[in-house]
C-alpha cells in the first residue's frame, strides 16, 4: 500500500506523538489531561481504521449489500471511549482537589510547596 493509502495511520502516529509530548512536557495539570486525551484519541482512530474493509458498506443487513466493514473494532472502541471519558473526569476531579489543597495547578509550584515542608 502506498504512503498516501496509509493516511489514517499517519494521523494516528502524529496524534499519538503530539499527545504524548504534551503529557511529558507540559507543567500544567489540566494540559496534561488534554495531552492524555489526544493520545487516547489516536488509539480510537487506529481501531476504527482497522475495521474498514475496502469497498465495504456500513454493517447493516440490507438487500443488495454483500460486503460489510468489520463492526467489532468499532464496538470495542466504544468501550474504550467510555473508559477514556471516565479517566478524564476522574483526572479533572483530582486537579480540582489539588488546586483546592495547593492553590495552584502548576506542577513545579506544587513541587516547591512539597519541598518546603
Amino acid at each position: 500500500m502506498s504512503a498516501a493509502g496509509l493516511y489514517n495511520y499517519w494521523i494516528v502516529i502524529l496524534l499519538m506523538m503530539a499527545g504524548f509530548y504534551v503529557v511529558i512536557s507540559s507543567g500544567n495539570l489540566v494540559k496534561k489531561i488534554v495531552g492524555l486525551n489526544l493520545f487516547q484519541a489516536s488509539v480510537f482512530i487506529l481501531y476504527i481504521s482497522m475495521g474498514k474493509v475496502a469497498g465495504g458498506s456500513a454493517p447493516i443487513l440490507r438487500e443488495g449489500v454483500t460486503q460489510f466493514s468489520n463492526p467489532l473494532p468499532h464496538v470495542l472502541i466504544l468501550t474504550a471511549i467510555v473508559v477514556g471519558v471516565a479517566t478524564t473526569a476522574l483526572g479533572l476531579a483530582l486537579v480540582v482537589r489539588i488546586r483546592e489543597a495547593y492553590g495552584t495547578a502548576e506542577e513545579d509550584e506544587i513541587h516547591q510547596q512539597d519541598e518546603s515542608l
Binding site: F39, L46, P73, T79, A86, T87, G91, R97, I98, A101
Partner: protein, 493 residues
C-alpha cells in the same frame, strides 16, 4: 449446578456488591457488606482452586457463547493461585480496615471508599480470570480507576498528587496495552487468548506482531512498576490510606506480574518471547537494576511506608529475574515469590497501619522505643521483615532459595550475586527500623502509647503467621507454583 457457575460468580458478586454498598448509609454497614462479599469471593476462589487442582483447567463461556466469539473465562493453576491471593488479602485487610478506616477517612467518604474497594477487587479478579484480551483491558481500567480513587483518599494532600501521577502513568500504560491488543487483533482477527496463542506462531516474522509485543511489554511494565517505570509507585504507596497500601501492595502488582506471564508465555509463547525477541536480556538487566537500585534507595528513606514501597519495587525485580530464566525452576520461583511477597508485604503494611493508628505517623524518628510500647505490633513487623530479608523458616527464604537454585541450574552466577546483595541491603533497611524501635530511647515529652487493639493485631498476625507457615510447610505453595510453571511452559494442561 452452582459449581459450574463459579467462574462467573467470582467477578459478578463483587461487581454487583459495589452499587449495593453505595446504598448503605453508614460506613460500618458498608464495611460489613464489603467484608461479607470479599469473604464470598475468597470462598469461590478456594473452590475454584480445588476444581483446577482436580481437573487441570476450567473454562466458562459467558452467556453460552462458544469460545472464539463469546468472552471466555479460563482458569488454570496460574490464575487460580492469583485469585486466591487477591481475595485472601482483600478479606484479611478488610478485617483490619474497620478501625483503621474510621480513623483515617472522613465519615461521609467511608461508603464511597468501600464501594471503590469492591470495584477495585472486581477489576483485579476480572483481569486474572478472563481469557479474552480486550476484556482484560476493560477490567484493568476498572481496577485502575478505582485504585486512583482509593489512593487519593489519603489524609496527606500529597496523596492527591500521587494519585494524579499514577493516573497519568497508569493511563499511558493501559493505552499501550490497548494498542498492543489492537495490533494483535489486526493480524489475527481474534481476541481470545487461547485462539491468539494458536494463530500467532505462524506470524512471528510479522512486524505488526513484534510491535504489539513491544507495546504490551512496556504497557504492562508501567502497571507492574518495573524499573525504570516505577516512578509512580513510591508516592502512591506512601500517601495512600494504610489499608489501601496493604491491599494494593499485596495484590495490584501481583496481578500485573500475572498479566506479563500470561502474555509472554501463554499468548506469545516462550519460544517467541524468549527466543526471537530479546526479552531475557531485557528482563534480567531491569530485574537486577530494580533489586539493587530500589533496595539502596530504600535505605535512605525516612518514611517507613515509602521505604517498604521501594522495597516492593525491588521484590518485583526478583519476580522478573525468575521470569527471565524462562525455565521451569525459574517460573516456579517467580510464582512462589509472587505468593510469598503478597503475604510479607501485606503483613508489614498492616503492622505499619497499627503504628499509624496509634502514632499518627510512620516516620522513622517517631518509632524510637516503640518496641516496648507496642510489643506485638513491632514483633509482627520484625517477623515480616525477616521474611522480606529471606531468613530460613520464613516464606521469603523459600522463594529466594528456589530463585537461586533456578539461576544456578543455568549457571547465571551474576543473578545469584544480585539476589544475595539484595537480601543484604534488605537487612540494612529492616535493621534501621529494628534499631530505632528497640535500642533508642523515646524522647522526653512523649505521650504514652498503647498497644494496638486486637481487631487490628489479629489480621496482622494472620498474615505474618502465614509467612512462617509457608516457610515451613511448603507443599501447597511450591506444588501450585510448580504446576503453574508447567502450564506456562505448555508441558501441562
Amino acid at each position: 449446578m452452582i459449581a459450574a457457575q463459579l467462574p462467573a460468580l467470582q467477578v459478578v458478586v463483587p461487581l454487583l456488591g459495589a452499587p449495593l454498598c453505595l446504598l448503605a448509609r453508614k460506613g460500618n454497614t458498608a464495611w460489613a457488606l464489603t467484608l461479607a462479599i470479599s469473604a464470598v469471593a475468597l470462598l469461590v476462589a478456594t473452590l475454584l482452586l480445588g476444581q483446577v487442582l482436580a481437573q487441570g483447567s476450567v473454562a466458562y463461556a459467558f452467556g453460552g457463547w462458544a469460545a472464539p466469539w463469546g468472552i471466555e473465562y479460563r482458569l488454570d493453576a496460574v490464575n487460580a493461585i492469583v485469585l486466591l491471593i487477591v481475595t485472601g488479602i482483600s478479606t484479611v485487610v478488610l478485617l483490619f480496615a474497620k478501625t483503621s478506616v474510621a480513623h483515617e477517612i472522613r465519615p461521609e467518604q467511608q461508603v464511597l471508599f468501600y464501594t471503590s474497594w469492591l470495584l477495585c477487587l472486581t477489576g483485579l479478579l476480572g483481569i486474572t480470570i478472563t481469557g479474552d484480551a480486550f476484556n482484560l483491558f476493560v477490567f484493568l481500567e476498572i481496577s485502575s480507576l478505582s485504585s486512583y480513587v482509593l489512593i487519593s483518599l489519603g489524609s496527606d494532600r500529597r496523596a492527591l498528587t500521587a494519585a494524579y501521577q499514577y493516573l497519568i502513568m497508569g493511563t499511558i500504560g493501559a493505552t499501550f496495552i490497548l494498542i498492543g491488543i489492537g495490533l494483535l487483533y489486526m493480524v489475527t482477527g481474534t481476541l481470545n487468548m487461547a485462539d491468539l496463542a494458536g494463530r500467532l506462531p505462524e506470524l512471528t516474522a510479522s512486524r505488526t506482531v513484534r510491535t504489539a509485543f513491544a507495546f504490551l511489554t512496556v504497557g504492562i511494565g508501567l502497571k507492574l512498576a518495573l524499573f525504570p517505570l516505577h516512578l509512580w509507585l513510591p508516592n502512591a504507596y506512601a500517601y495512600a490510606p494504610s489499608v489501601v497500601t496493604a491491599f494494593l501492595a499485596a495484590t495490584a502488582t501481583k496481578v500485573a506480574i500475572y498479566m506479563l506471564l500470561r502474555f509472554m508465555f501463554s499468548v506469545f509463547g516462550a519460544g517467541f518471547s524468549f527466543g526471537a525477541m530479546p526479552l531475557p536480556t531485557l528482563l534480567v538487566l531491569l530485574g537486577a537494576a530494580a533489586v539493587l537500585s530500589a533496595s539502596t534507595v530504600a535505605i535512605f528513606q525516612h518514611n517507613i511506608k515509602r521505604m517498604l514501597a521501594y522495597s516492593s519495587v525491588a521484590q518485583i525485580g526478583y519476580m522478573v529475574l525468575g521470569m527471565s530464566l524462562a525455565s521451569s525452576a525459574g517460573l516456579t520461583a517467580a510464582v512462589l515469590h509472587l505468593f510469598n511477597h503478597a503475604l510479607m508485604k501485606g503483613g508489614l503494611f498492616l503492622a505499619l497501619g497499627c503504628i499509624a493508628w496509634r502514632l499518627g505517623s510512620v516516620r522513622l524518628g517517631d518509632l524510637a522505643g516503640l518496641g516496648y510500647r507496642m510489643p506485638w505490633t513491632m514483633a509482627a513487623f520484625v517477623a515480616g521483615g525477616l521474611s522480606l530479608i529471606g531468613l530460613p523458616l520464613t516464606a521469603g527464604f523459600i522463594s529466594k532459595w528456589y530463585l537461586v537454585l533456578a539461576a544456578l541450574e543455568q549457571g547465571w552466577w551474576p543473578v545469584v550475586i544480585v539476589v544475595v546483595a539484595g537480601s543484604l541491603l534488605a537487612v540494612v533497611y529492616i535493621w534501621r527500623v529494628i534499631e530505632t524501635a528497640y535500642f533508642r530511647d523515646r524522647g522526653e515529652p512523649a505521650p504514652p502509647v498503647q498497644e494496638a487493639p486486637l481487631s487490628m493485631l489479629l489480621p496482622t498476625w494472620l498474615l505474618v503467621g502465614a509467612n512462617v507457615y509457608f516457610g515451613i510447610y511448603t507443599d501447597l505453595s511450591v506444588g501450585v507454583a510448580g504446576q503453574a510453571a508447567r502450564v506456562l511452559l505448555g508441558t501441562a494442561p
